[in-house]
Subunit: 107 residues, 3 copies
């Protein structure tokens, strides 16, 4: 198993256009190897009220080394005042997929 | 980084109405800050048969402290005999998002 | 809490038919208790180009013991040259759901 650690960074966007723009920006600038985007419905508390809104969930697949720069990119480009940025550790990654991630991100 | 730990609790529901009811209940009673709901197709083994059903995946975003009460809420209100309740650790959470989660849950 | 550890194995497929085939195969052969499939849009780098494609995300719910055989099954049947196989640790699992997973996988 390649030593580098993989990470999934989760964020949410108000619409598909914003999610796609962030995803393309992250992959273009080699901060993420891949971004999966799914349409979701979100229930959340904001300024004292419980909101119900359509959103888009974005799963940025990256490496531990690139995570700080990816977070910087997402927070500086995100349309929300308080964007979600939650990272989940990849417990194991198949060797060839990890090699592809490292190659897509760092070179 | 705020010391409190974040958690994603995953469950699945038979339809959107049940998922929304649980999500609103959890956010209303400050057991979760946010719930993302996605339409999925599930293949699973139940009573000896392999089933293929439309379901709704619910990702409850909460804190480690509130996880036991959220689990209690979900299991006592869930329509399934054996509801899925799987928690995933949030490895890192952006400071402002974590502060918002803590404020939405505990106060 | 049952001692066995639960795992979510994440992979992606080019279309729903391939995802369903893998899901049925894994559940039929007791390598996974349940598979959730969601339609996604993926942005990724492949052979120097940034691609934008519809895909299907598959979340295989299994146990730590069965993970190696599930990986073997996925890699030997996957249509991609470099399939994504990323595992995420289940931090906690409700006891009855874990018992159902163990029963659906091993017996």
């Amino acid at each position: 198993m390649v030593a580098m650690k993989g990470v999934i960074l989760i964020s949410t966007y108000p619409d598909e256009a914003n999610a796609l723009k962030a995803a393309r920006g992250a992959v273009d600038s080699r901060l993420a190897a891949c971004v999966n985007i799914a349409k979701i419905r979100s229930i959340y508390r904001w300024e004292g009220k419980v909101e119900d809104a359509e959103e888009y969930l974005a799963l940025f697949k990256t490496t531990e080394d690139s995570l700080p720069r990816l977070k910087e990119f997402i927070s500086s480009t995100h349309p929300y005042k308080v964007p979600e940025m939650v990272s989940i550790a990849m417990d194991s990654v198949s060797e060839r997929y990890m090699a592809w991630m490292v190659e897509s991100i760092s070179s």
